[in-house]
Amino acid sequence: MRDVAVVGFAQRQMKEFDGSPTCVELLVPLFAECYEQTGWTRKDVGFWCSGSSDYLAGRSFSFVQAVDAIGVIPPVNESHVEMDLAWAMYEAWIKIQTGEVDTALVYAFGKSSAGVLRRTLSLQLEPYTMTPIWPDTVSLAGLQARVGIDQGVWDEAAMAEVANRSLTDAEKNEHAIRSGGSSVEELLARPMYADPLRKHDCAPVSDGAAAIVLAAEGKADEVCERPAWISGISHYVDSMSLGTRDLTRSPSAQRAGAAVDLNGVEVAELHAPFSHQELILRTELGLGDDVRINPSGGALTANPMFSAGGIRVGEAARRIWSGEASKVLAHATSGPALQQNLVTTMEAR
């Protein structure tokens, strides 16, 4: 396997973006930031890959406009997944492994504010017996949360603790949409929203975009003092059926974690849009109390669709660049109730 590192990262997040759903206006400055971090121009990028969703934008081929933001004369080696940035990054990592290219820039964007997100995501479900009754994402997460509470796997206090820690950490993150910790008691005193979930148990709906730069050995050291070397990356998917799954578990997250070496991980950025999901992930990945979880504030404080998973990668990589940590983990999820999961570990050398 070739050694590949994360050497650049940029994000823009806002509650509501008043620009176009393809977010070209957001992407151009993000690419500029990546070029500034690396000293590159677009000609130094060997492969481009993006993540986005037509249904989020409300139009077919929504990613096509975004290709304009790259500057595609001369034509580029480019691809697209209708998935989160983390999987676009995976495709790029694979491309570098084939030896065809040495560098990649991956990006993603999502304007959830264009529609009603929790309704739009009903279209992700089984189309014959689920989508026709429009089960929204919050309800699906609520069903999962209730199972854990009923079975004693977690409780509302544990969920509130996740929220409180996230909101507190978010105070130091300029990109967070929500911030301001208080206490478990105060959070529990707030009213139920979608029983058993309170508003702070659910990620905010917001718009944003992000970009990640990958470079292979040889190139990475040229542009970054302390590259975040990807020491492992894997992803798996579970069944969609809520009936046949044990909703207190995420086997695909467990498999993804088992496929990489998690020993010595100091910081873990987990993509958990609902507070109880962080509890599931910590168990599936076997993360002990010594691991710092979501210093960025995590998805509970900002969850721009289609870049939130990739943002976990960027936020984790930053801890390597800054020297704060030597080994970190980033996780991304897709689908209802942690159905699909990707895990990557990054290390300093």
Binding site: G19, R42, I70, Y128, P132, V138, R146, D195, L197, T244
Partner: protein, 318 residues
């Protein structure tokens, strides 16, 4: 940059889905007020039946009738129902394991408040009177007080269910980019304004947030004439769903004088078969009182009568 223009857009279609034999069997059951599960290779009765067995990957062939009463195995409260959900007042979504099934089914539960539902309570299907072979034949679940009730009218199975219709309608607020907004705001005043890319100097209309060649935002405004040359075109004869202009009509790329990129628009006031590549045309604007922030302020382009532009002057745009 001006504030961006926005407008609502609804993306709607009544999708016609063919179900295949397994989902079809389940839906036939619903039409007959009977819930049908599938037995997996591991012996579990799953509702709705999975089309393919999770272990053998073969299509499910063993179907099992289950009761229309059962137990709530999980629930959540829906305080703000969205369009299309089974109830338009607050309700619970529940996972219900019906008697005879091993796994739960997801559906709505009609209760007044979260205090009226708990895991383990008994519920029963509220059947719709008119059933068609669709998951909504189950209107929702309701608490089962144990009283016997009239069996839902069962109609004898006539035809197999092979398809369903699923209306999907999503409302969006579409926003133009700042550059597009500027363009449309100018069009609202009868002006065509392009933007020049600082890197390659080409003039784009409509302007872009990034020049597609270089990725640089186009910024310098360049007023353009509303006259131009047809580079290439086609004559549209075919009608289609959602079309707003009646065929036959000419759809043409018009290279406005001063622009480096052609604009797609209609050509009228000339028989379709007389339209030529290189023809000189000019915008015909709608009456001013009909103007809005849209390129449709220009009703169409019409020939000016000038001699055709020389092929050499526009061939690089073909």
């Amino acid at each position: 940059m001006s504030r961006t223009l926005s407008a609502p857009i609804t993306v709607a279609f009544d999708y016609t889905r063919s179900t295949g034999p397994v989902v079809g069997r389940f839906l036939e059951g619903l039409r007959d007020a009977q819930v049908v599960g599938g037995r997996t290779s591991e012996g579990k009765v799953v509702v709705p039946p999975p089309e393919y067995d999770p272990v053998t990957h073969q299509q499910t062939t063993e179907f099992v009738d289950v009761a229309d009463t059962g137990v709530v195995t999980s629930w959540t409260w829906v305080p703000e129902p969205v369009k299309g959900q089974p109830l338009d007042r607050p309700f619970a979504f529940a996972l219900v394991t019906l008697d005879g099934a091993d796994t739960p089914l997801l559906h709505a539960l009609d209760v007044a408040g979260p205090e009226d539902v708990q895991t383990g309570m008994r519920v029963r299907v509220r059947w719709r009177d008119e059933r068609v072979g669709d998951i909504t034949d189950i209107a929702c679940f309701e608490p089962d007080d144990g009283e016997t009730r009239l069996a839902a009218l069962v109609r004898e199975t006539v035809d197999p269910v092979t398809g369903i219709i699923v209306p999907i309608e999503l409302d969006y607020l579409y926003a133009a980019s700042p550059e597009e907004s500027l363009f449309y705001s100018s069009v609202a005043e009868g002006k065509l304004v392009g933007q020049r890319c600082p890197t390659c100097q080409k003039v784009y209309i409509p302007p872009r947030s990034a020049c597609p060649a270089d990725g640089t935002p186009t910024a310098e405004e360049v007023p353009l004439s509303d006259s131009g040359t047809i580079t290439t075109f086609c004559i549209v004869n075919v009608p289609f769903l959602g079309q707003r202009i009646t065929p036959p009509y000419v759809s043409a790329y018009v290279l406005l004088d001063g622009a480096d990129i052609a604009l797609l628009h209609l050509i009228l006031d000339v028989p379709a078969d007389e339209v030529r590549m290189g023809m000189r045309v000019k915008a015909v604007w709608k009456p001013r009182e009909e103007w809005g922030t849209t390129i449709e302020n220009i009703s169409h382009f019409a020939p000016t009568g000038e001699p055709d532009a020389d092929y050499e002057t526009y061939k690089q745009h073909l």
